[in-house]
Amino acid sequence: MTTALLLVLALVALAAGIATGARHPRTWLVLTLTGSAAALGAALSVMPGPPDWEWRSGFLIGGEALHLRLDGLSALFLALLSVVGGAGAVYARGYWPDALYPASASRGRAWWSALLLSMGLVLLVSNGLHFLIAWEMFTVCAYFLITLDRTRREVRVAGWLYLAASHAGTVCLFAFFTTLAARTGSWDLGPLREHAGLAPLFWLALAGFGVKAGVFPLHIWLPSAHANAPSHVSAIMSGVAIKMGVYGMLRFSGWLPVPAAAGWVVIGLGAASALLGIAFALAQNDFKRLLAYCSVENIGVILIGLGGALLARSHGNAPWGRLALAGALLHVWNHGAFKSLLFFCAGSVLHATGTREMSRLGGLWRVMPWTAGWFALGAVAVAGLPPLNGFVSEWMIYLGLIDAVANNDPFAWAVMPAVIMLAMAGALALAGFAKAGAMIFLGAPRTRPAAEAHECGALMRGPMLVLAAVCVAIGVAPVLFWPAVARAVGDWHPGWASAATPAPLLTLGMAHLGLAVLIAAAGVWMWCKVRGNGLRRGLTWDCGYAAPSARMQYSSGSFAGLAAGWFSWILRPTRRIRRPRGHFPAGAILLERTPETMLEHVLMPAGAGVMRVSTAVRRLQHGRLSAYILYVAAGLAALGILVLIESVT
């Protein structure tokens, strides 16, 4: 009952938010926050345990009765959506104000509420037709949010790429849901685990949802869309929207039977996404692009967990699969929290300096201490380091997978490479975020805008604080969040439904807590000690060079160069170099660009091929009437031959 009331409240508040967004920013903020809070409340009210909240109505939409359902799995995503959605709404007030963006700020607010509403509906509806409706509305809302600043060409290009890729995914989902409806005779969704004949549909769902999730070879839209969108939009795209793809995969791999090879493929895709995603991230100079590629990595981590769970489920419900799946689910939350936090930080840097290029920044900690601090925290979390949340979920996935190896399960050979690649991805993430943090916030400012930056306002800092608190809370007290995850695991596979906390989770939490306290204490103590001993400021020593300039600092490209070099087979960086010549060299240039390999070296040639065909075909419409009549005659002849063949055979 409360769930229903809260959901209605959320619906009404968000719908009112859409209506008022354009004119009344204050009311809009209150409404959106109310809606988010209500949705969060609804999610929390379902989490403690069964039964699911379910509502069937005779009300027909598109000829199908409305059927809503909120179970543990969707509640998990709904909670994430409401937290990031609410935080982003507040952030947007500071980041994208009417004063700076008179044309788009009002539109942005309405779209924001619409996005939250449509994503919420994706999570709630339990009918294939309605799922497609909500899904596509969410895609379109996200498109208009990404292209909020339509005056810039690259924004439009990025938005189009997103829209086109999403539509390709949606077309797969068209096929998926329609085949499902055709096979089962109904659009209604629900557990259909016994229909073994539905298993091959998993591939369609994987492709369709994979595009949205940004799984490695399908991620082409993701970097540019995340980079060019306003940062609060990037945050919700990366933190929540791509998770909708994960939700789809989880939902339908849970409800439908899957083919035998699903586990291998998913874990393989996950490992590839994790490793290659972070390799691409490392090579970026644009910090929002770096964050975007890092999302590809984290989706990979989640898929490794899901793939492990699929393998375990298909091989006798091995209990370790439960742990891997729980890790993946928790990572959904974790990534949502720290990636949104990082995008908020990125937004505040962009806001203050106007550039996304790390090689034009530096030394921002002095003017933006809060942002720098939150970014550092987010970096530790995203690199999967203890004692923050990123480690907890990765640790659970590791634990599940290593259990599989330790048990000598027959498919250990697939799990072992995944574990090793996960470890390498973790180390690369550390490198990538050391680079990002260092290039943006540390050292000396490399350009004037960086030197003249300013700290962001309270409206932007507040949401960051909330998300940072979530990161810390999940890090030091994962047990508190376990019931929600366990419930979702149970919904995915009833055989694993159990509230029992895996013992080491508590210990890990305590260890993290102790570590956090020790770290804080050690840091403060060292500072006091140093102050006590006497602190002198001096020039950076730099091997005795007395006149360093900001341009002599290590650059973004050189930082990534070493590790990115190992991946040059796929990164395919292009390089323009003019070496210094002679005794008194005049100048030297080194330009390096990392292309979007999948886009530029795979998709665009294929697209060019299609366009060549199109151009050739379009030449047929050359304006000469005689030929047009010839086409009619040709059509007649072709159909005649077809009919002749048909009637003979």
């Binding site: 006497g534 001096g538 950076t540 091997c543 590790a563």
Partner: protein, 302 residues
């Protein structure tokens, strides 16, 4: 009463004995070179001196510059608490602690690299890059080692993983982990701990700007890390579960000493490798651990 005593003992072991190892290595090197060398306790003197000194900090650096070495030290210390000391067991042991240990070391690495980048110095940047990049390969090797140990023992807890041991893969594992030890602890042939001014340095170049207590924390942390690796290596390879506690402790101490001497000998006999060969060597370490894993896995199959 007993737990407190145990804790104190463990602390003593890790905190007090660790700085001994670099001293021993230096002594071995001096001995091979026919010099007298610095006293074995030299690091203790250095630490004590540094602890009392004031700090010079780059104008570009934030307060984090002095705090992060302490954080890194805490991380290494936390990792050490997870490592069992032979019969004494670990300070904290639970399923999956091996991963926590690895990631705590990673946290320490992150803090050091971050602190290095604070100064805006190109040299320190260079060091940080190498540190975080080579760690990718080292991490892969270490995870492969963890996997092979857990295949052998069916566990992911360091205490059980390291206790019985000796499978067919012990030799491979020993070689692999020894290389990782050299790499992670900035020893020759990866790095030369004797110089601080080379462009070709890794770890050492990152701490160029540190001074006073933070530098002490770094040096002590490094020593502790060396000890940690030596202990892990020794226990991963040696069968100690059926020895009596004292015997096991003795064996552990002896083998740690052996590892230390071996490091010293390697440093005396080898020159530092050219940089492009470093990944090669680390890949070798990774492959050794991977082979160990395969041997353990296939060997363990019924």
């Amino acid at each position: 009463m007993i737990p407190i005593l145990q804790l104190l003992l463990r602390l003593g072991c890790w905190l007090l004995l660790a700085p001994l190892l670099p001293g021993i290595i230096n002594k071995v090197k001096a001995w091979v070179a026919g010099r007298r060398g610095p006293p074995v306790l030299q690091l203790y003197y250095d630490l004590a001196k540094l602890w009392k000194k004031g700090v010079v900090m780059s104008t570009l650096a934030s307060p984090a510059f002095v705090m992060l070495p302490a954080v890194a030290w805490v991380a290494v210390f936390g990792a050490a608490m997870l490592v069992p000391l032979g019969p004494a067991g670990a300070g904290l042991s639970f399923r999956g602690d091996a991963l926590l240990m690895l990631y705590l070391l990673a946290l320490a690495r992150f803090c050091t690299a971050w602190a290095a980048m604070e100064t805006g110095s190109a040299f320190e940047g260079m060091g940080a890059v190498r540190e975080v990049s080579y760690a990718v390969l080292a991490e892969a090797a270490m995870v492969a080692a963890v996997l092979s140990l857990s295949v052998q023992t069916g566990s992911i807890s360091l205490v059980t993983m390291l206790a019985p041991s000796v499978g067919a893969c012990a030799g491979l594992l020993a070689a692999g982990l020894f290389i990782v030890l050299l790499a992670e602890n900035c020893r020759v042939p990866f790095d030369d701990p004797n110089t601080h001014l080379e462009l070709t340095m890794i770890h050492e170049v990152m701490v160029l700007d540190h001074s006073g207590p933070p530098l002490a924390a770094i040096l002590h942390g490094a020593a502790m890390k060396l000890l940690l690796f030596a202990v892990v290596l020794a226990q991963a390879v040696l069968p100690m579960d059926h020895l009596r506690p004292l015997g096991a402790a003795g064996l552990l101490a002896g083998s740690v000493l052996l590892v230390t001497v071996a490091v010293g000998l390697v440093e005396s006999l080898l020159a530092r490798f050219a940089f492009r060969r470093v990944p090669l060597l680390l890949t070798t370490a990774f492959l050794l651990c991977l082979f160990a894993l395969l041997v353990a896995w296939k060997g363990g199959m019924p």
